[in-house]
Amino acid sequence: MAEIGKTKLDSGWLAARSTDVELTGTQLTTTHPPTGPTAPWMEAVVPGTVLATLVKNKKVPDPFYGLQNEAILDIAISGREYYTFWFFTTFQCKLTGNQHLDLNFRGINYSAEVYLNGHKMVLPKGMFRRHSLDVTDILHPDGQNLLAVLVHPPDHPGSIPPKGGQGGDHEIGKDVATQYVEGWDWIIPIRDRNTGIWDEVSVSVTGPVKIIDPHLVSSFFDNYKRVYLHATTELENKSSSVAECSLNIQVSTELEGNVCLI
């Protein structure tokens, strides 16, 4: 039985420029998975951006030293394909009985296609949105799962006028993404516009019922002597039968040191 809870997928990732990979996502996650950091594949920084991966592998100089950023091809010149990258990893997971597995991306810039064991799913556009995919039915029976993610840059990366300026030509403002990336008076233009799996990737195991986005609010009376905690949560029953649930809420406070009062 897999343990209930979240496991981060933050190691063992590989990356490759999409134009250097002939294979499809289905082939990468079934018959032809990359075997290691051999060209065109390289060790990837996840969470991080395409440029962070390229800097780590010394494919480009570190943009934050001297004028080295000038040596890195800007997306406006190279085109979006040049910074459209594959990211690949594997993870182990064997569910039992009525367990479910979600694959979670807490931030993708700017859109992506996900392939898991040959199955394709789309992560829609938007840098500041989470994605959670129920992958229970497409896990590998032997527990070894192959995951590939094709990440596309923002739709409007814009171009940097010769005189620079706040936010370049402002095209990035057409997307829902961070705007500093075209450069500002305090920072150089970021050549890949922060494209990538920029925040946490995880898998979470649950039983038939999943807790979603609880909301905690406190209200105060009698000059903060009488305090109430209000808790609301969404719950999803993923199973095909009625779920008889016991829902617990527990509040404990940490006394000095590691003593807990419940």
């Binding site: 500041f128 999943k210 009376f221 903060y224 779920a243 008889e244 649930c245």
Partner: protein
């Protein structure tokens, strides 16, 4: 300090919203910003067990009991803040982001945020051209008592007041903007340090977005209760 169990049935493939009966606390340790008191945090754990299956899911969060109020002061036209009924003089700094290649790490956040606390700051303003900061950022702001002013992704320069004037109506897809904003609020709303959501930097978001944000973010009338008896 509190443990409560409720029973409920959920239909197959259904997604429901459930509110616990409110939990009462007598004089709990309150969360205070840096320089005003301790940052008391409580472990809140919500778990669900399913009959004939056992434990199904669990969620935990470090929660701070605090009341944050702010209003525009007519005399100075500045925004005045109160924490737990006490006025506070805001000493804040601008924050753009931890690293230009988004190599964000809890260790780096802890160092950066502790630095702000050591500088005797009590607020960090997350600029609209940067990021909606991450839970790890807010966790350390909770721990060190840094209130957070979090802007959404609108800046004057890029959205209608720059040179050249561009995007006067903000991003092309307003529904996508609101979807991202709502999801970001759900991601961050339980953090004690989150003090203020702001539409953008030096610019009011397009009217429809601004109205939707104001509507979604107003305090629920249920909680508009005076703290007096």
């Amino acid at each position: 300090e509190q443990l409560q169990t409720q029973h409920l049935s959920i239909s197959p493939r259904a997604r429901v919203q459930y509110t616990f009966p409110q939990l009462f606390f007598y004089k709990p340790n309150l969360w205070w910003p840096n320089g005003m008191g301790k940052q008391a945090l409580h472990h809140v754990t919500i778990s669900v067990e399913v009959k004939e299956h056992g434990e199904s899911d669990q969620w935990t969060h470090l929660f701070g009991f605090r009341k944050i109020e702010s209003h525009i002061d007519n005399a100075t036209d500045g925004r005045l803040f109160k924490i737990n009924g006490q006025p506070i003089f805001i000493r804040g700094g601008n924050w753009i982001l931890s690293d230009g290649l988004l190599r964000l790490s809890a260790k780096r956040y802890r160092t950066d945020i502790k630095f702000h606390a050591d500088m005797n700051f009590n607020m960090i303003r997350c600029w609209g051209g940067g990021l909606a900061e991450r839970p790890e950022f807010y966790h350390y702001c909770d721990m060190y008592g840094l209130l957070v002013w979090q802007e959404f992704w609108i800046t004057g320069d890029v959205d209608g007041r720059g040179d050249p004037v561009s995007n006067p109506d903000g991003p092309l897809d307003h529904d996508l903007f609101m979807l991202c904003a709502r999801d970001t609020v759900k991601l961050l709303r339980n953090h004690a340090s989150l003090a203020l959501w702001v539409g953008g930097n030096e610019q009011v978001p397009p009217k429809d977005i601004n109205e939707a944000l104001k509507n979604d973010l107003q305090l629920h009338p249920y909680f508009e209760t005076p703290s007096e008896t």
